[in-house]
């Protein structure tokens, strides 16, 4: 009787263990396959952003008449659609972002957006004739993908330039561009180091950076 009940308990444990094991065995491949699936989703999302952005630029270039207002409108739309402006602002301010007041943060994002738009609008003609070719895309952790490629001048006058787009790929939000690397030099890291220097030269005043940026902006 005792032996029977002990066998019964053992059988129950065994069944439970097997069931648990079976469930684990079923889940494990799912878990393992979800990792590369997530990486490939990330990469696909990043590639889509870049393809879509390049297509938009090409459309703007084809329809460009040199009208500054229209250019500004197009570039603003391009930036707001494909770029993570709050992320760019937070990264480029470095450790001083935490110390900045809410109003300073808003001012900084707005000024930075205006500066970037102004710079692209002024140099928009230089993009004409360039063709982007993707070389490869590499997941950098589970939140970022580096899409590498090169810009080639269809007229052959300018040498090919190697470009990398750092795209953030959050699981619950659309993928957006955070940084551009030209010949392996990050534009955002460069901007961050320049910004930090300006803030430190002004005794840690974040507003000094905003003032300096406004001064550099050409008059409308």
């Amino acid at each position: 009787m005792i032996i029977k009940s002990q066998i019964g308990i053992l059988t129950t444990y065994l069944r439970a263990w097997l069931r648990g094991g079976f469930v684990c065995l079923c889940i494990l491949p799912l878990f393992l396959t979800s990792l590369p699936a997530r990486a490939s989703d990330q990469i696909a999302a990043a590639n889509n952003v870049i393809t879509s952005m390049i297509r938009d630029v090409e459309t703007y270039l084809e329809t460009d008449s040199g009208n500054v207002e229209k250019r500004t409108e197009n570039i603003a739309k391009l930036l707001d659609t494909h770029f993570d402006l709050p992320g760019i602002a937070r990264f480029s301010a470095g450790p001083y972002w935490r110390a900045a007041s809410e109003q300073e943060r808003i001012d900084y994002i707005r000024t930075m957006r205006d500066v970037v738009i102004g710079t692209i609008v002024r140099n928009f003609d230089q993009l004409s004739g360039l063709r982007f070719t993707t070389i490869d895309s590499q997941a950098k952790g589970d939140k970022m993908v580096l899409v590498r490629g090169s810009f080639n001048d269809s007229t052959g006058k300018r040498p090919a330039v190697s470009v990398g787009w750092r795209v953030i790929t959050p699981a619950t939000a659309p993928a957006k561009v955070l940084d551009v690397e030209i010949e392996n030099i990050s534009m955002l890291v460069t901007q961050k180091q320049e910004n930090i220097t300006i803030i430190r030269q002004n005794e840690g005043r974040f507003s000094a950076l905003i003032e300096a940026m406004k001064k550099r902006q050409p008059a409308p």
Binding site: M144, T190, Q193, R200, Q201, R216
Partner: protein
């Protein structure tokens, strides 16, 4: 054939001597007042940078602009080829020191083959197969610390390690020992200023963007230099640099969502 000309000797001695004098004149900025931890001599570095910018405005930029306008594309390519060719012995020497014998052999072959045209025309199948190496990279491969950031008059941005590397490269380059008649001597003398003008012409727009559109051209130059140098050392010597790479910086940024 390989006697060291007196003028070369003087110029070789002048570079480290000037660098030592420059360093002696530098006053270090206290650590908590630095705009970049790697740049303790920012005050004197900024003075050297201002000097270099003046030199650029009055001499280099107009010369590079003229060079771009006057010199045909084929001529510019020939000059760039020649400048690359003169750097090949240093690449052979440094690759061998680093144990990169394939690169050492390849650069030696490229040097010999292209010597038929004095390097003006590249006769090799794949000119980009040789990875340029300098003594600064060799020092990095031996784990020599990078040292501080130094803006050197005329030479531009350096670290202590890369400046030491430049001195050694100029001393060990067999091209400096050549004594083969007036034509070669003239080429030897003309090469550094021509290389400077050619480099400025090749980077004309990018350089002007830093010079005229930056909030702080000095800080931007420093950042560009460190990133470019770190990339070269990482890619060619295969050693992580002393500086945080862009990957590291983005990784910590994404880990901290605030």
């Amino acid at each position: 054939m390989f006697a060291l000309p007196k003028s070369s000797l003087r110029s070789l001695l002048a570079v480290p001597f000037a660098a030592i004098l420059l360093l002696a004149a530098c006053s270090s900025v206290p650590e908590d007042e630095r705009t970049d931890a790697r740049d303790p001599y920012e005050g004197s570095n900024r003075k050297a940078f201002a000097f270099n910018m003046g030199l650029d405005t009055y001499i280099l930029e107009p010369a590079a602009d003229g060079y771009r306008t006057v010199m045909p594309k084929a001529g510019r390519r020939a000059i760039d080829n020649h400048i690359d060719w003169t750097g090949l012995p240093a690449t052979t020497f440094n690759s061998a020191l680093q144990g990169r014998f394939e690169n050492a052999g390849l650069s030696a072959v490229h040097f010999v083959v292209n010597s038929l045209t004095l390097g003006l025309i590249d006769l090799t199948e794949d000119p980009k197969a040789v990875k340029s190496q300098d003594f600064g990279q060799t020092l990095a491969s031996f784990d020599v610390p990078e040292g501080n950031y130094l803006m050197v008059p005329v030479l531009g941005p350096n670290t202590g390690r890369s400046l030491a590397g430049r001195v050694v490269d100029s001393v060990t380059n067999p091209m400096s020992f050549l004594k083969a008649g007036d034509a070669i001597q003239t080429m030897q003398t003309m090469r550094p200023p021509v290389a400077l003008v050619s480099m400025r012409a090749n980077l004309f727009e990018a350089f002007n963007d830093v010079k005229y559109n930056s909030l702080d051209p000095y800080a931007r130059t420093r950042s560009l230099y460190y990133q470019g140098r770190a990339g070269r050392i990482n890619a060619m010597v295969g050693k992580p640099t002393d500086n945080r790479t862009a990957d590291d910086q983005f990784e910590s940024f994404l880990e901290d969502p605030k």
